[in-house]
């Protein structure tokens, strides 16, 4: 693909992502907020595609967009009450938040831009190709170095614990 077009698409994705993020946290309607989040997550999947992590992009779409956001929507349906009064924003809190994140952004940007990242622009060096799903599967199921069977199994237990915990917490007394 043409690098220029690549860059343009990337820029569009990035700008959309940031704009949607801002909208997600500022909109008063929770349902909209969740929708914006969905789009942010889809854009992130686009980023993964740019990085040639196709599997990751698929996971992002299915788990995040398909699972987490649906959970959010259900939770919003279950909790929002009709007369949720508009809580007057405490202006002091906005000032605190703004100064904090401005300081953070400045600091982080300073770090990011000051560093030299030692990578070549060479596409072959970047490994600009899709990682075969077989390799991912073997890495997930292996027990050697750089293989991830143990975290995988621990994660499955964690998920089980979450299912049980979620049921236990949310069930009606």
């Amino acid at each position: 693909m043409n690098p220029i077009i690549n860059l343009i698409i990337f820029a569009l994705l990035g700008v959309a992502m940031l704009a949607l993020s801002v909208m997600a946290i500022t909109t008063k309607s929770l349902l909209r907020s969740a929708t914006y989040l969905l789009f942010v997550l889809l854009c992130t999947a686009g980023f993964y595609l740019f990085l040639n992590y196709h599997f990751l992009a698929a996971v992002q779409v299915s788990v995040y967009a398909g699972g987490v956001v649906i959970l959010f929507v259900f939770a919003i349906f279950l909790t929002t009450d009709k007369d949720e009064a508009r809580i007057k924003g405490d202006i002091r809190r906005y000032i605190y938040g703004a100064t904090t994140i401005l300081a953070g952004i400045v600091l982080t940007a300073f770090i990011i831009l000051k560093r030299e990242y030692l990578y070549s622009d060479n596409k072959s060096m970047l490994g600009d190709k899709e990682i075969p799903i077989q390799q991912i599967g073997q890495a997930l199921m292996g027990t050697d170095k750089y293989q991830y069977l143990l975290p995988f199994e621990i994660l499955s237990i964690l998920l089980l614990a979450c299912i049980i915990g979620g049921l236990l917490i949310a069930r009606k007394k």
Binding site: R93, Y96, G97, T100, A103, G104, L107, F110, I111
Partner: protein
């Protein structure tokens, strides 16, 4: 002999069972279960005793120690470890027999005596616990196991004395018993620690082996306040024994402990718990003899004094259980004296043997006396002599068995007390004349106060019992133990004890000295009985006339020489006022002041920063992020 472990397990299981599910059972079935369990326990003890004494006990002429079961519990060093085990040797086997027999009698007796009391199941559970602790004490293989069960005995006797916990006097009596014995046990514990620190072992076998060589060598040379370390350690251990065995001046708990049910008094205060101190000294006898003969001498004098002292008090008391309590103190003191005057080995160890012999016979006749007194109390519903008299025609069996026990304790042949007391007297005779003559007088006094008791209860005029409370003979379950114990009280004297028990485990021969000590002791006993007959057989005012002439002395004795008051004065005035008050002042002003100051500072500081702990998560996140940024900035630019 592994089944001897069952002797220990049975009462414990009974305790758990009756304690946990007893409340769901009918009182009667709980009592019967307890009694059957104790019967099993007694049968096992008899089997063990038979096997030991007539089977495997003797190796090459001497009685050996058998340890059929040993479990290493806590290991500190290779030598120093706390075990839980079973030690079978002549004295422990004898104690097994004594304890289980008396306990069984008390169990049967209580079926009748405690009938209809509330808490009947609890009573039997506690009896089982007490039997368990006492059996564990006597079969201990090491001094620490003994200490553990020693404390268990203290706890279970505490709850038995305080069985009628609705009654304030019973509660205070149980507290008194517990605190006094606990105070004495402090000495015991310190003694154990000194002894085991230097010798590096708790084991009885290691401590007493080859003339207590380990103790004499490892504690040699150490002195503290002018006395050798061995003396200190063994004197402190004796202090524990003195507490349990109610030696002067730690005897004050025993008379009050009569607040418990009478069968409990028979079990605890006649045959088992109070002889624990004697048993302890006997268990460590070689150590005492070789390492600290001075302590042994002290034991002899303490015992002599206590015997005389308690006998004097017993003469004046009018509560029949208290008379028996003081008589117990006096008789236990006899045993202590016998140990104190004993030498080691062969016929020289006569005192040791006679002490155990007296322990054995005394257990039966004193249990019989207590149970008989219980039977009387059951009939007339009072402890006071004044409410009794002329009961012989109403309660024939109780009267006869009581008479047998009185004859036994007074030392009239052929009843058992005569034989054991005679051995003690002749042991004292060969050792120390002053002690002998004191004990001889005490023997006369014993005969006097026991027959004073007997005559005042069963004869002494013809009181008319009117109304509903016409006294009558107790039920079969109460009479049967009386008769059995009466048989024991007659029969046990004929056992040739020296064949079985001796200080060095070698059997030896004894004979009654019909030309020296025996006639003297019989004479003084008869004199005592005669005096009592003259004063009390018929209603008369002779005794009160004499009491009136004695004046202050009589009042002193009646109030037990004001020993309780002395202790109260010591605790109230000296300890509470001078020591505790100053400690209290220090505590209030210095320690509390420091603590208050600290807490005041902390409170002020926390009030000033309390706003940070608002509980608002967003504020926490804000602080967290800000902190992270600051740290990152410092890491970057500093």
């Amino acid at each position: 002999m592994e089944y001897s472990l069952l002797i220990l397990i049975t009462p414990f299981v009974l305790f758990l069972f009756l304690g946990l599910v007893g409340g769901k059972l009918k009182p009667k079935s709980a009592g019967i279960i307890g009694t059957l369990g104790m019967t099993l326990c007694a049968a096992l003890s008899y089997t063990v005793a038979y096997q030991y004494f007539f089977g495997i006990g003797k190796t090459s002429g001497a009685w050996s120690s058998i340890i059929p079961f040993n479990f290493e519990w806590l290991r500190f060093t290779d030598l120093l470890h706390i075990d839980i085990g079973i030690l079978l040797d002549p004295i422990s086997v004898m104690m097994l027999v004594v304890i289980t027999t008396v306990s069984l009698m008390v169990h049967i007796y209580s079926l009748g005596y405690m009938h209809g009391e509330s808490g009947f199941q609890r009573y039997y559970a506690l009896l089982s616990l007490f039997s368990f602790s006492m059996l564990g004490l006597v079969i201990a293989t090491n001094i620490f196991q003994m200490y553990i069960f020693w404390e268990l005995v203290g706890v279970s006797s505490y709850s038995l004395i305080g069985f009628y916990y609705q009654r304030p006097s019973a509660v205070s009596a149980s507290k008194k018993a517990f605190i006094v014995t606990r105070f004495a046990d402090l000495g015991f514990l310190v003694g154990i620690l000194i002894l085991s620190y230097y010798t590096g072992t708790f084991d009885f076998a290691a401590l007493t082996a080859s003339n207590a060589e380990l103790v004499t060598t490892s504690l040699a040379g150490g002195t503290f306040l002018g006395l050798s370390l061995a003396t200190w350690a063994l004197a402190l251990i004796f202090m524990g024994g003195a507490g349990k065995s109610a030696m002067f001046p730690l005897h004050i708990w025993l008379p009050d402990a009569m607040e418990g049910p009478t069968p409990v008094s028979a079990l605890i205060h006649a045959a088992t718990m109070v002889v624990a101190g004697v048993y302890l000294v006997a268990r460590l006898f070689p150590v005492y003899f070789f390492a600290a003969p001075d302590v042994l001498e002290m034991i002899a004098w303490v015992g002599t004094f206590t015997a005389l002292f308690a006998a004097i008090i017993a003469i004046t008391q009018t509560d029949i259980k208290r008379v028996l309590a003081f008589s117990t103190i006096s008789q236990i003191a006899y045993m202590m004296v016998a140990l104190g005057v004993s030498d080691y080995g062969g016929h020289d160890g006569l005192g040791y043997m006679s002490s155990m012999f007296h322990l054995f016979t005394h257990a039966f006749f004193k249990a019989l006396l207590f149970l008989g007194a219980g039977s009387v109390i059951h009939a007339v519903h009072s402890n006071e002599m004044g409410a009794m008299g002329g009961l012989h025609k109403y309660m024939k069996i109780t009267s006869w068995t009581f008479l047998i026990a009185c004859l036994a304790i007074a030392g009239i042949p052929p009843f058992s007390g005569f034989f054991s007391k005679d051995e003690i007297l002749s042991a004292a005779f060969h050792n120390q004349p002053v002690i002998f003559w004191t004990l001889w007088i005490v023997a006369g006094m014993t005969a006097f106060y026991m027959f004073r008791l007997y005559f005042r209860i069963f004869w002494n005029g013809k009181r008319e019992y009117k109304g509903l409370h016409k006294p009558q003979e107790s039920p079969f379950s109460m009479v049967m133990p009386l008769v059995l114990l009466a048989i024991f009280s007659i029969g046990t004297g004929f056992i040739h004890f020296a064949d079985f028990i001796s200080s060095d485990n070698m059997p030896f021969h004894t004979h009654i000295d019909w030309k020296g000590v025996a006639p003297l002791s019989i004479a003084v006993a008869l004199a005592g009985i005669g005096t009592a007959y003259a004063f009390y057989f018929r209603e008369s005012r002779k005794s009160s006339v004499i009491a009136g002439k004695m004046g202050i002395f009589y009042r002193c004795v009646l109030h037990k020489f004001y020993i309780d008051e002395v202790w109260m004065w010591i605790t109230r005035t000296i300890i509470f006022r001078y020591i505790c008050d100053s400690i209290k002042w220090f505590d209030r002003h210095i320690i509390d002041g420091a603590m208050d100051g600290i807490s005041w500072t902390v409170q002020k500081a926390s009030t000033s920063i309390r706003g940070l702990q608002s509980g608002y998560v967003r504020f926490y996140v804000y602080v967290f992020v800000a902190g992270t940024l600051i740290i990152a900035a410092i890491a970057l630019f500093a």
